[in-house]
């Protein structure tokens, strides 16, 4: 279970609020977060695994404070970025997955076996020795997901994981994410994907302005954007 208790984030240099004090409990299996660019939704997502820390209030994952137990929280919460290129660290696909396993499996031969199985599972069987630079955008995102999943997280936070992908890969990565037997929190601009959840948050100007059923959330967001566009052009 993820708990935000009056968690707030401000820009370090300007002091401008990025996320106003927010209190939330996230325990549904599928939660989506939508909002305009710069609304604070990625910051909210990053708070969950301690990539961002609140300046006031706190965030707890399974009772662990992200500020005090960052390393333990990151073992429970996997994070998938928009651009997989920055998430892949090692030169080849197999080596990158093996990197995630170093902490969990000491034996090298066992690590190779587990990494090959993870690549096979995710649909990258036979790509183990391929350079990460030679993989397509979709394959890179799959590899990034394999790296996240081999660390056996309890929660996956995905920050716009399909934004850079074509329609085919978007559908495939989306389906894989939604089939995960663990809690998934997805930040997305894809309103169709946003409805495939049990709960959706709408973020605007650093605040949660709607929290409820996905269909109502999307309707609220559309209305919000329509009003803002109208105000801008007036």
């Amino acid at each position: 279970m993820i708990e935000f208790k009056e968690a707030a984030v401000v820009a370090p240099e300007t002091g401008v609020p990025i996320l106003h004090p927010t209190t939330l409990t996230l325990d549904e299996q599928r939660i989506t977060i939508i909002g305009a660019n710069g609304s604070g939704k990625s910051t909210l997502a990053r708070l969950i695994n301690g990539l961002a820390l609140p300046v006031s209030g706190s965030v707890h994952v399974d009772g662990l404070d992200t500020r005090k137990h960052g390393a333990l929280v990151r073992r429970k919460v996997g994070f998938l970025f928009t651009d997989p290129s920055a998430q892949l660290i090692m030169p080849t696909a197999l080596e990158d997955v093996m990197l995630s396993l170093r902490r969990v499996i000491r034996s090298k031969s066992e690590r190779v076996k587990a990494a090959l199985a993870a690549l096979e599972d995710i649909g990258l069987g036979g790509k183990g020795d391929v350079s990460v630079n030679a993989l397509s955008g979709g394959q890179r995102q799959l590899l990034a997901l394999a790296g996240v999943l081999t660390a056996t997280p309890m929660i996956v936070v995905a920050d716009e994981p399909t934004t850079l992908l074509d329609l085919r890969w978007k559908a495939h990565v989306g389906a894989l994410l939604h089939a995960l037997p663990i809690q998934l929190i997805e930040v997305t601009h894809d309103l169709e994907a946003a409805t495939k959840a049990q709960r959706t948050l709408v973020i605007d100007e650093g605040s949660v302005v709607f929290d409820g059923s996905p269909d109502d959330a999307v309707a609220h967001y559309r209305d919000l954007m329509f009003r803002k566009t109208k105000e801008q052009s007036a």
């Binding site: 080849t92 080596e95 990197l99 394959q139 999943l149 056996t152």
Partner: protein, 221 residues
């Protein structure tokens, strides 16, 4: 990517079967020996042996030839200077040493996976664990290798963006976006390392061995 870096290819050559530490040690000893012995015949012999070792690893032809072409050019320039000074033997010896050492380094990197290198670097750094966590030096090396093609890509895109706006041969238009985007990539990479818990040295209570399996087949590219 620099052909000397991150060029590992799987194989079954004798060099592939050797442990990483023995190859790195061998490379070090080879470098010392070639520096100490300044005899052109020995230099040429060692160079030929290094080239044979490189061939035995069946490296990727194009990047290997590209890398060798560059080092041959450097060796030729160095040898020409020695010949100009009237020392033909030194010219041959230095050129042979350069080509030999470069070939052997290609053979070592081409036959050693990054994970083996990481394990080796981690073991070497273990005595210094009070100063730096043992996993860090190897990780830094891996990140350096990973960053080279990305910086090269960023530079190419920056050049194309400048050209698209009608700007040619302008170093400012090339270097400033390259530098700022490289910093952006470094920040993203840092966030990714952080998110994957790499470098977290805290003791573990992580769940072990539980695999999250997926079944859907991936689209083919």
């Amino acid at each position: 990517m620099n052909p000397a870096l991150g060029s590992f290819r799987t194989g079954a050559s004798p060099l592939h079967r050797l442990p990483a530490w023995s190859k790195v040690l061998g490379l070090f000893v080879w470098a010392v020996v070639t520096m100490i012995i300044s005899d052109p015949v020995t230099g040429l012999g060692l160079c030929a042996a290094a080239l044979l070792l490189l061939i035995s690893t069946l490296p990727a032809p194009k990047p290997t030839l590209k890398g060798l072409g560059f080092i041959l050019f450097v060796a030729a320039m160095t040898a020409s200077y020695q010949v100009y000074r009237g020392d033909v033997a030194a010219g041959i010896d230095i050129a042979a040493d350069l080509v030999g050492l470069f070939s052997l380094s290609l053979a070592v990197t081409g036959s050693t996976s990054m994970n083996d290198m990481l394990d080796f670097a981690t073991r070497v750094a273990r005595p210094f664990r009070r100063i730096v966590p043992p996993t860090i030096p190897g990780l830094m090396f891996a990140i350096m290798l990973r960053t080279i093609p990305e910086v090269s890509r960023i530079m190419r895109e920056s050049r194309d963006a400048a050209r698209a706006r009608g700007i040619r041969r302008n170093m400012t238009a090339l270097m400033i976006p390259t530098a700022t985007r490289t910093v952006g990539f470094a920040l993203d990479l840092g966030a990714a390392l952080h998110a994957r818990g790499i470098g977290d040295e805290a003791s573990s209570d992580a769940s072990k061995g539980r695999r999250v399996s997926l079944a859907a087949p991936a689209p083919t590219d």
